[in-house]
């Protein structure tokens, strides 16, 4: 699927004008839904994601309960109209896999042992999809969990790095994802830089991988600041209202 299009010029400028280590624009709104325990609306480049958290509440059906801790059910779902060719409603294999790896990543930071038998349900709806929806969804989920007051060791955050035309860059855009050489989405716990989620497709030398991993971790840390600011803004504005 190579094309003649130049994804990055000699000066390191990318199609959308970004430099190699530059993130797309990110906008986060906290507490946007009435019914949810916590919620977050996030725009990341052309991605639009809505997350609602429910729980902790009794896990049903019962046989799914864990006697020692809460289970974390992330459900990543793409709206039918979020992609160029309409997607049939309901989970496909891709969204089931993403739901699984996001659930596992979130479970690591949530203090699940405080809520035996409970479930914490994290509903991630992709409303508009450009490249990087799993990172956008996980990042929004971190904010929504904080908004719901779920006790966590840290607010998880995600970002990807990749390789285009032989160069390692941060946060692939859509064409970069389609035509690039490799994509490395990760999620971390920003306090410790522990890696919660990691997937890689493509072709990287060991050196490129190390560079991409460093880029992605730096990206996560930058996004983490935006997360914290959004949460703080909401908290402060609430105080003002009171």
């Amino acid at each position: 699927m190579k094309s003649d299009k130049k994804l990055i010029d000699d000066a390191g400028k990318r199609l959308d004008g970004r430099g190699p280590e530059e993130l797309r624009k990110i906008k986060i709104e906290v507490g946007v839904l009435h019914r949810a325990s916590g919620s977050c609306y996030l725009e990341w480049g052309g991605n639009k994601v809505m997350v609602a958290v429910y729980g902790p509440r009794e896990a049903i059906p019962r046989h799914t309960q864990n006697l020692l801790r809460a289970i974390v059910n992330a459900r990543y779902n793409m709206a039918a109209f979020s992609v160029e060719d309409r997607k049939r409603p309901g989970p496909d294999r891709r969204s089931k896999e993403i739901s699984k790896v996001i659930s596992e990543a979130l479970e690591k930071v949530i203090l699940t042992e405080q809520f035996p038998r409970a479930s914490i349900d994290v509903n991630i709806e992709v409303l508009d999809a450009e490249a990087g929806t799993r990172c956008a969804g996980l990042t929004a989920a971190g904010v929504a969990l904080a908004d719901a007051g779920i006790p966590m060791k840290d607010i998880p955050v995600a970002c990807s790095a990749g390789k285009i035309e032989g160069r390692v860059v941060l946060d692939l855009g859509k064409e970069e994802d389609n035509l690039g050489d490799a994509d490395l989405p990760i999620a971390i716990s920003p306090r410790t830089n522990e890696i919660l989620l990691l997937q890689m497709d493509g072709h990287l030398t060991l050196e490129e991988f190390n560079k991409a991993l460093d880029f992605a971790i730096k990206g996560c840390n930058a996004v983490s600041e935006i997360q914290k600011k959004a949460i703080l803004d909401k908290y402060q504005s609430v105080e003002v209202v009171e």
Binding site: E84, G90, L127
Partner: protein, 260 residues
């Protein structure tokens, strides 16, 4: 499930006897409506509608496909609604259940039977190729009265939709050909009180529900009664009147927002 609603019912009915509703509205008064269009970029048209805290997003996608054998010169309309668990602690993941199916079918009939979309203008090759219009209703926040929110979001999304002809190399994009849409207004009954645009609390104690779609001439274009209570003829007249009154206001707001 059975005790709390009893208390809630008593409280709401007590207020109703005094002519009041929990949120201070009159019996025939809608909550505040917000309409925002073109909210997602991948869709041919989209709109987010808020009625109070209830929030619905409809996206329109179009594709080229085969017509139904019994209407070879007509485009195809497909409406789907999902009560995704994002929108309420009570919604569960999985294939659409009866409530979601009724919702989608009522919105679908509102669009189809009133010929809101001029499906006969969406034929590309008779019997072979027509435009397929997918109306996908995404419930974001459920605080009562999904029928009207879903219907209004779908109309607003359709009104602002473009036929993506260029993507299919069929010339330039153009607006979806539409007729004047009827506006759907829903009332519920509890005890002997009938209120329009029920909040979630009111829906939870409601005995009967009636949705009435009316057009710009004051004619009735669709009705759907729900729940296991009944209406008298007089109550139905009352519901129709309130639907006509509110429908007029909502039509004005829709027209302003969409510029049509």
């Amino acid at each position: 499930m059975t005790i709390v609603p009893a208390i809630k019912r008593d409280y709401i009915c007590k207020l109703a006897k005094q002519g009041k509703r929990v949120d201070g509205r009159k019996f025939d008064e809608f909550r505040k409506i917000e309409i925002e269009t073109n909210v997602v970029s991948k869709a041919e048209g989209s709109a987010r509608v808020k009625i109070g805290n209830t929030q619905v997003l409809t996206g329109i996608k179009m594709d080229v496909g085969e017509p139904y054998p019994d209407s070879p010169e007509s485009g195809v309309l497909t409406t789907a609604a999902e009560l995704i668990p994002l929108a309420s602690p009570d919604f569960e993941a999985g294939p659409p259940q009866q409530d979601a199916i009724e919702l989608a079918r009522v919105v679908d009939r509102g669009v189809r039977e009133s010929e809101v979309i001029e499906l006969d203008k969406l034929c590309l090759e008779p019997g072979e190729k027509v435009w397929i219009v997918f109306v996908d209703i995404h419930i974001l926040d459920y605080d009562g009265n999904l029928f009207d929110a879903a219907s209004l979001a779908s109309l607003a999304a359709l009104i602002t939709a473009s036929v993506p002809a260029s993507r299919f190399e069929l010339g330039e994009d153009y607006p979806l050909p539409l007729n004047e849409p009827p506006i759907s207004c829903t009332s519920v009954k509890f005890d002997d009180f009938v209120v329009i645009d029920p909040s979630l609390d009111e829906e939870e104690i409601a005995d009967a529900r009636l949705t009435v779609a009316t057009d710009e001439n004051g004619d009735i274009r669709a009705m759907q009664k729900g729940l296991n209570g009944s209406f008298t003829k007089e109550e139905i007249q009352k519901v129709i009147k309130a639907s006509l009154d509110n429908g007029r206001e909502i039509r004005k707001q829709l027209s302003e927002k969409t510029g049509k």
